[in-house]
């Protein structure tokens, strides 16, 4: 018995040491990726017009900004949001302290209190809950520290100076419009069977993007033909991930072999959409419109016109992070800022995909 135990342990330790070797063996991949990121960082700073002059307070002191982020782990999007903010802060020579609330409202509140104790000049907050963080924002107001909300809505009681975000309705609208344009070129004013794959039921972003897409499509068709031809045969939810979108797309494809158009709410679900269409024999037949403007989607538009993807509309987290920092600097310097600032969301189609494609982009 003892001998066996020892054997098991031996085997186990052998395996574990293999694991350690392999894991360390994997690090070079990560290193190269960070290298890639730094090069992309360089190319970004190169493309940004004029190295911005360092931003200082009126009395010439360095500006200190606190960034309270609701959650980082597990989200590439949030990671890039922080990255955008950090790059902008570096560019303007501003000190940025980022705190991760790890998806916990209480942690976010105490985090903001820590920022107040550190005498920051402004706080950028991506709130975990619109009203749950009110105790923290009240403290900010009492201490006359300006608050900028980014990405997620804040309750009006929070008295945020400005809200920096994407405009999901507008991004949706642009996607719907471009998709309608592509469909009209292919099918004219025939009735089009379309399906929609969004994130979660009753989720605001899903709903806004959906409504935007439908009104964009409808407006285009009304303008061109004086009637709408959209026959939305299925609305399904892919939880914003490709493996959940796949079976949904497959079933839609099976139920509607004459499907013409797919509205996809996010580029992250696209791999599932492609495979689902392929398995039902609908690939190369269906036109797809999507949102987010990720590197891989742009590459598809550019290199694989047969994939059916005709449009993606940019929703770049790095721009959101950078714009939030810009707003914070402006507020600290006493400049006027808009109460709501929507980031730019350029449309990406085959016409401009080449200019928009950056193979080293981290997003």
């Amino acid at each position: 018995m003892k001998g066996k135990k020892g054997k098991v342990l031996k085997v186990a330790s052998l395996f574990l040491s293999c694991l350690v070797i392999l894991l360390t063996g994997c690090t070079p991949a990560n290193e190269t990726s960070t290298k890639q990121q730094t090069t992309s960082k360089n190319s970004q700073t190169e493309t940004t017009p004029a190295k911005a002059e360092p931003a200082k307070k009126k009395n010439g002191e360095k500006i200190v900004i606190g960034f309270s982020q609701r959650r980082v782990a597990g989200s590439d999007w949030y990671t890039n949001l922080i990255k955008g903010a950090e790059e902008e802060a570096k560019r303007r020579d501003v000190e940025l302290t980022v705190l991760d609330a790890q998806g916990d409202v209480a942690k976010q509140v105490s985090g903001v209190e820590d920022l107040i104790a550190q005498n920051v000049d402004a706080v950028i907050m991506n709130p975990q809950d619109p009203s749950g963080v009110i105790p923290a924002t009240t403290r900010l107001n009492q201490n006359d520290i300006p608050l900028i909300a980014v990405n997620s809505n804040l309750d009006a009681k929070a008295n945020a100076v400005s809200f920096v975000s994407d405009d999901p309705r507008d991004t949706g609208y642009k996607t719907g419009w471009e998709l309608a344009k592509a469909a009209s070129e292919k099918y004219g004013d025939k009735v089009i069977k379309a399906a929609m794959v969004s994130g979660y039921p009753k989720e605001l972003v899903s709903q806004y993007r959906r409504n935007g897409m439908i009104s964009g499509w409808t407006d285009f068709m009304l303008e061109k033909y004086g009637k709408s031809n959209l026959n939305l045969v299925a609305e399904r939810f892919g939880a914003w991930v490709p493996d959940k979108a796949l079976p949904e797309m497959q079933d839609i494809g099976t139920a509607h072999p004459d499907l013409k158009v797919v509205f996809c709410m996010s580029d992250t679900m696209l791999p599932g959409i492609y495979t689902g269409l392929k398995n039902t024999g609908l690939n190369e037949k269906v036109l797809i419109g999507s949102i987010d403007g990720t590197k891989d989607a742009i590459r598809r538009i550019l290199e694989e016109p047969k994939s059916g993807l005709v449009v993606t509309v940019s929703n770049d987290p790095r721009v959101q992070g950078a714009d939030a920092v810009k707003m914070a600097i402006d507020v600290v310097q006493g400049k006027q800022v808009p109460s709501t600032h929507y980031i730019e969301n350029p449309v990406i189609t085959s016409k401009n995909a080449k200019d928009m494609y950056d193979p080293n982009s981290s997003y």
Binding site: L19, A29, N30, E235, V241, P242, L246, D251, T254, D296
Partner: protein
């Protein structure tokens, strides 16, 4: 174990009527599935089409493969909540290995080995650490998912390696049947053999049924439990690899909540979460039962929220039938 031996020993039955009853109680799941297929074919004319059947087979093979590993753990009286995270970790690791130019076959084997080690970790903590399986795998669920995020290079890693794709998600000579289905069938065959014919398999039932008795009978309990978790890990890894190949993309976001889908399949398949009970074929049938219901609801265009309710109800009904059948048997 006693109960099981008795039932297998008393299989030669005395009367025709008795054997029919026996057949019904034993393969109620298969009957239920057949009925479901018949009903579905009436509900939607798309259901019994070649394309749809091929899709159903393909869609549910990943869950079924992971469910087989889960079944092994469940038979020992444990539970493995980390399977979804292990699948995601496998996906990310395979993508980065292929990205580094490692041979596809080597990467597949290596990833499955590593995931077996991940499962082995669960087993060690359960046996030598004496922590309850639920807690251990709840912890590793976050740990392995976290590792997956750490290893992820960029957001989604596209895989273009032909060999990798055709081994794990390619077409076979039989039209409409893809390799994942074949992989499932092979795995299922191996599992039926292990659980029925080998002493290791029989010992797993004994451990789950009454671990104290198994210990007294001299079964190497710790080693068996660790092996079960390692196999579960390896199969979760295999599931993750297939998913990666099907989507030709590696991502740490995959397989979120799969642990619950898999446990549902195992339970619908008649396994008891208390351990000591469960059959390999039934676990796969359980997975297909849930999958087919989702498929028919989608084909008929039932909206998402009622779908969730209906799926939950079906799980309850299926488990109710299982317990009734078990009571009949006893």
């Amino acid at each position: 174990m006693k109960v099981n031996q008795e039932t297998t020993l008393s299989t030669p039955s005395f009367s025709f009527q008795h054997s029919i009853l026996k057949f019904i109680t034993k393969s109620y799941l298969l009957i239920f599935l057949c009925l479901l297929v018949i009903v579905c074919s009436f509900i939607s004319d798309k259901f019994l089409t070649f394309n749809n059947l091929s899709n159903i087979l393909l869609q549910n093979s990943v869950i079924s493969i992971i469910a087989l590993g889960q079944l092994m753990v469940v038979i020992t009286g444990g539970i493995d909540l980390s399977v979804g995270s292990i699948a995601a970790l496998a996906s990310v690791l395979s993508a980065s290995l292929l990205g580094m130019g490692v041979d596809p076959i080597v990467s597949i084997i290596l990833v499955m080995l590593l995931m077996a080690i991940a499962g082995l970790g669960n087993g060690l903590a359960v046996t030598y650490g004496k922590i309850t399986p639920f807690v251990v795998t709840l912890a590793t669920l976050t740990i392995y998912r976290g590792l997956a995020y750490i290893f992820q290079v960029g957001s989604l890693v596209t895989i273009e390696d032909r060999t990798f794709l055709s081994i794990l998600a390619g077409k076979t000579i039989i039209g409409g049947v893809y390799t994942p289905v074949i992989i499932l069938l092979i795995t299922l065959g191996i599992f039926i053999f292990i659980l029925r014919m080998t002493t290791f398999g029989r010992r797993l039932y004994a451990i789950g049924g009454n671990s104290e008795a198994a210990r007294l009978a001299g079964a190497p309990i710790n080693r068996d439990i660790i092996t079960a978790y390692a196999i579960s890990g390896a199969l979760a890894g295999l599931g993750g690899l297939i998913m990666t190949a099907r989507l030709s993309t590696g991502s740490a976001l995959y397989a979120q909540g799969y642990e619950l889908d898999v446990i549902a399949a195992v339970v619908v398949g008649g396994a008891s979460l208390m351990g000591g009970k469960g059959f390999a074929l039934n676990a796969v049938l359980g997975a297909f039962l849930i999958g087919i219901i989702r498929n028919i609801l989608n084909l008929t265009g039932v909206a998402s929220y009622p779908q969730m309710v209906i799926q939950g109800l079906i799980i309850l009904v299926a488990v109710l039938l299982t317990t009734l059948a078990a009571r009949k048997k006893a």
